[in-house]
């Protein structure tokens, strides 16, 4: 169940839209923050908070790949390997993450610190190779640079 404060946060989101349904995507992010991922409980909690059918919440939550659909590490790396990034060496970065952190596609580090999701284009071709770390954007990546950046996320 969601705490009073979180419910209030969802109420505030709801107030920004004409109907509760419109608040579904942001509310799912809030629940994900609280539950760690889109678990059955998280989706149920959102359905109750917005008085929406649980089926509808589930259909929406599972449609979007940017939600966490299983328990994941504290920090989520979303690395692009689409054309531009690939040409500029994203594959090397994939290898680097694997060798240095033991991270593979959809995997999580043993200490629960990082999870990796390989993405199809995050709109950063001009700074390829690029990644999102949680909601922070990083471009022009190299193995060295990525190591440094990750060091900043405990």
């Amino acid at each position: 169940m969601l705490s009073e404060t979180v419910l209030k946060e969802i109420e505030e989101i709801k107030a920004k839209y004409p109907s509760a349904r419109s608040a579904l995507l942001p509310a799912l992010y809030v629940a994900q923050r609280e539950f760690g991922w889109q678990s059955e409980k998280a989706m149920q909690a959102v359905a109750q908070a917005l008085n929406l059918p649980e089926a509808e919440v589930r259909g929406t939550a599972t449609f979007y790949s940017m939600y966490k659909h299983k328990p994941m590490g504290r920090h989520l790396i979303q690395l692009c390997t689409n054309v531009s990034c690939m040409i500029l060496g994203a594959e090397r970065l994939v290898d680097f993450l694997k060798n240095r952190y033991g991270l593979t596609q959809n995997g999580t580090t043993a200490d629960g610190r990082f999870s990796l999701v390989i993405m199809e284009c995050i709109g950063g071709c001009d700074m390829a190779p690029a990644m999102l770390l949680n909601t922070d954007f990083y471009g022009d990546l190299t193995e060295e640079k990525i190591g440094e950046i990750l060091g900043g996320y405990k």
Binding site: Q44, A55, T62
Partner: protein, 853 residues
């Protein structure tokens, strides 16, 4: 006017519809797997492709709106090629297991593939594998066969309003899914199953037990369960009902059904059906011949009538029997038995309220078309949850909400929680006070209307003494009601079952009157209205004609060739009291189970056991039949002809679909007894009975089966409704109790059961196998209880072990148990005192303690 050409044929259209609709309306077939008459456009399957001149590509006819001058071709080589391609794609993951699929023979995909080809696919990868799931209580899901047309999802969300289905994930992984087993809020209507074009959603009761082409006959009839009166086709094989099929365009349900109508038919196939007459000998019921049983009945009734007079005899009619049965029943009691002691369990709610409203507002006040609900802008729902009591009517309330109507719920109505605009929770058992306050507030703006002086006068009296209740939402409630231009009131019977129920009824009548609202009375049994119209009342003859007015009575006496006692008879609860006091010696029960269906079961049983002679006609050995002296096997609704009158007062035809192995029509048994008692009744069939009714009842004048079949038998038919209304509103001394207890027990009306009939339906038992105590989630938590826990409840005299089911929408301290399950009905614990005006039992104030078991 829009003119288009389809396949060379010129078509003129009033309104801009889709090309698909235009084609269909003109008998031109276009294949369509995702489009459906009842559902929103989707445009997902791409099978309805057509060629439109001047448009570069093939167009989906289900989403394309016609424009003047359009020239359309629905078949061509190009189109066939495209459709074949689409089908090939659809078959990529389809298992092509038609030989073992129950849909084969009525599958839209199978038909299309056999027409357009693509029998072999070129796709080399593995097909998706998902085993058929039988985890659900009543529906099987085969996701390998699913073509993702989303008809089921749209049906469940937009029409049924349950929103139990969704498509999860996306792309190649997408599939239709119930949310999860625990939180799955499926209403088991099966409407998803109706619209699924393939064998992906199947009915478990029918898996592998017959093929569509093996059906012996199909008979159109009406649902036996509630007062909505949905139409469906009964499919029969080997004298057993296989399915009930709703059809687009058939009846007021237009292709939809609820769980009871869909699955509940199988009680008729139950092997426990009574097969022969029973007579109590040495304290035990033993098999007898019809002749012996009827002889005994005649003998007993004659003796009691001759020695004690007709007043010592009473009859309980049945809202599950046809108009014809009920007409013959009351005629028999009034003539052969010389008694007006006739009533039914409808007195518990519907009949009491209906009579009250007609007395003060005029006959026909509740005869409103269910379809009209959709045109309302404000709907007030109180006294019950229409989505459980009268589910198909409930769907109209939900549909109105989607059209923008404001739904105001007073009390608890779980099925409308996502559709309501406002919910007001009156203090327990104080609905009447809240309603009187609402009425008085409305009267300030709208009253007096001047049309019915008695009502205006009473409203005026109330205005002087009402108090604004301290409940949240009261002002909004008042404002909403006043804002309505087309107001409907949907009234359930819960508020009738109060000792001061008549006060709430007056307030509702007053609101109806001032707002010129449409009034809908929820009706739990199929023929409650019919039974009233047939004169199964202690104070009225057929057509609602008051018994104690000589002119009316004389007409019936002449026609029936017999005198009719002139005093009003006893109402249901009074019959029970008089039986216990041995004033009534003989009771004739037709198709009813009073020992279970009347509150305070122990008392009722004691009263019925005191009878000198109890006759029961039924299809099962009910609690009442068990204590009877003679039990006669009757026929089920599927085995007889006749008519039902639904809650909107539409008369509809029941048709015999199955030949019963044993038993006799209720009317036939009654006429046989009547004949032997010297009151001749020589009907050769139900048609002759309806002819007599049409001849004698001023209301059903000129009615014939032909006309009923045409479906236009709507109030006021060609009849003569009674115009007069009473000049004085009946009143009773005020009673005011305080309800400060922890929990109060009240009856619950379940969506999945109805009376004691549905207990014999194995499908409905599969959906809802046991009773539960419904309690607000907050209260349960406070008691340290969670959903599914077993508890023991203690009432003033009696207790019950039961599991609880929590409901987060219940905020007051009412707790609910239904009255369906053997030995565990709420009426075994509830006691009552009569509403002096309506003579309905007041069930308020049953305080209980709940203890963890």
């Amino acid at each position: 006017m829009i003119t288009i050409t389809i396949n060379g044929k010129e078509i003129k259209l009033e309104k801009p519809v889709t090309v698909l609709e235009a084609a269909r309306a003109n008998g031109i077939k276009i294949p369509a797997l995702c489009a459906h008459e009842q559902l929103e456009k989707y445009g997902g399957c791409r099978l309805c492709l057509v060629e439109v001149e001047k448009m570069p590509r093939l167009q989906t006819s289900c989403t394309l709106t016609v424009a003047d001058g359009m020239v359309i071709k629905t078949e061509s080589e190009n189109i066939t090629k495209a459709r074949r391609g689409v089908l090939e794609f659809l078959l990529i993951n389809h298992p092509l297991d038609c030989p073992v699929c129950d849909k084969a023979g009525e599958c839209e995909l199978q038909d299309l593939v056999s027409k357009y080809g693509a029998s072999a696919g070129r796709f080399k990868e593995e097909k998706r594998k998902t085993p058929e799931s039988h985890e659900d209580r009543i529906l099987a899901r085969n996701m390998e066969r699913c073509i993702l047309c989303t008809r089921c999802v749209r049906m469940c969300k937009d029409v049924q309003g349950a929103s139990a289905l969704t498509i999860v994930e996306r792309g190649g992984k997408s599939r239709m899914e119930p949310f999860s087993r625990e939180s799955f809020n499926c209403e088991y209507c099966g409407n998803c199953h109706t619209v699924c074009p393939v064998g992906a959603i199947l009915a478990r009761p029918n898996i592998h037990n017959y093929r569509p082409w093996q059906i012996d006959r199909e008979v159109e009839t009406v649902c036996p369960y509630c007062g909505v009166g949905c139409s469906f086709i009964l499919q029969v094989r080997d004298e057993s009902i296989k399915r009930t099929i709703p059809k687009l365009g058939l009846g007021l349900n237009n292709g939809l059904l609820c769980s009871r109508g869909r699955w509940g038919y199988d009680f008729a196939n139950n092997p426990e059906r009574l097969k022969y007459p029973l007579i109590r000998k040495n304290g035990k019921l033993e098999q007898s011949s019809w002749d012996e049983a009827l002889g005994l009945i005649v003998n007993k009734l004659q003796t009691i009538k001759n020695t004690q007079g007709g007043k010592a005899i009473a009859g309980i009619a049945s809202p599950r029997c046809t108009n014809e049965d009920n007409y013959v029943f009351q005629k028999f009691l009034r003539t052969a038995c010389q008694t007006n002691n006739i009533d039914s369990v409808s007195r518990l709610g519907f009949a009491s309220a209906q009579r009250y409203f007609e007395d003060i507002l005029g006959q026909g006040i509740t005869a409103n078309m269910i379809a009209g609900l959709k045109n309302s802008d404000v709907i007030i729902v109180l006294g019950g949850d229409p989505t459980a009591v009268n589910p198909i009517l409930g769907l109209s309330v939900r549909a109105a909400a989607r059209n923008g109507a404001k739904i105001v719920v007073i009390g608890n109505a779980k099925g409308l929680e996502r559709f309501k605009t406002l919910k007001v929770t009156p203090p327990v058992f104080k609905e009447a006070d809240v309603l009187e306050a609402v009425l008085s507030e409305i009267a300030k703006v709208k009253g007096p209307r001047g049309e019915k002086p008695a009502i205006d006068k009473r409203i005026n009296e109330l205005a002087g003494k009402y108090r604004t209740p301290e409940i949240s939402g009261f002002n909004e409630l008042k404002e909403l009601l006043l804002s309505g231009k087309s107001v409907s009131i949907v009234l359930g019977t819960d508020i009738v079952q109060r000792t001061n129920g008549h006060k709430a009824l007056f307030a509702v009548a007053g609101i109806t009157y001032l707002l010129e609202a449409r009034l809908y009375l929820l009706s739990e049994r199929a023929n409650e209205q019919g039974l009233i119209d047939m004169g199964c009342l202690p104070d009225a003859l057929p057509g609602g004609r008051p018994l104690n007015i000589n002119d009316f009575r004389k007409r019936f006496e002449t026609s029936w060739g017999s005198s009719i006692p002139s005093d009003n008879g006893l109402t249901l609860m009074e019959i029970v009291d008089a039986s216990r006091d041995k004033k009534i010696k003989a009771l004739y029960v037709m198709g009813e189970n009073p020992a279970f269906n009347i509150p305070n079961n122990p008392y009722v049983k004691e009263a019925l056991s005191a009878l000198e002679f109890l006759v029961v006609q039924d299809i099962f050995l009910t609690e009442t039949a068990e204590i009877a002296h003679v039990v006669l096997p009757a026929l089920s609704w599927s085995e007889k002809d006749g008519t039902y009158t639904n809650l909107e007062r539409r008369i509809q035809r029941l048709r015999k679909a199955v030949n019963a192995p044993s038993g006799m029509e209720d009317w036939k048994i009654i006429s046989e007894v009547s004949n032997r008692m010297g009151c001749k009744m020589q009907y050769r069939g139900t048609e002759e009975i309806i002819d007599e009714i049409a001849d004698i009842s001023p209301l059903y004048k000129g009615l014939t089966y032909d006309e009923i079949t045409k479906g236009n038998c709507l109030w006021p038919y060609k009849g003569e409704p009674l115009r007069g209304v009473i000049s004085e509103i009946p009143a009773a001394p005020e009673k005011s109790d305080d309800y400060k207890g922890d929990f109060y027990l009240v009856p619950e009306k379940l969506l999945f059961h109805s009376g004691t009939l549905s207990r014999r339906s194995s499908s409905l038992n599969r959906i809802c196998p046991e009773p539960s105590l419904k309690i607000g989630e907050g209260h349960a938590q406070r008691l340290g209880l969670k959903d599914g826990d077993n508890v023991k409840i203690h009432a003033s005299d009696g207790n019950l072990s039961i599991k609880i089911s929590t409901d987060r929408y219940i905020k007051d301290n009412l707790v609910f148990i239904s009255n369906n399950f053997e030995g565990r009905g709420v009426f075994s614990l509830l006691r009552y005192s009569l509403d002096p005006v309506t003579k309905a039992p007041g069930l308020e104030g049953c305080e209980i303690k709940i203890e963890k078991a």
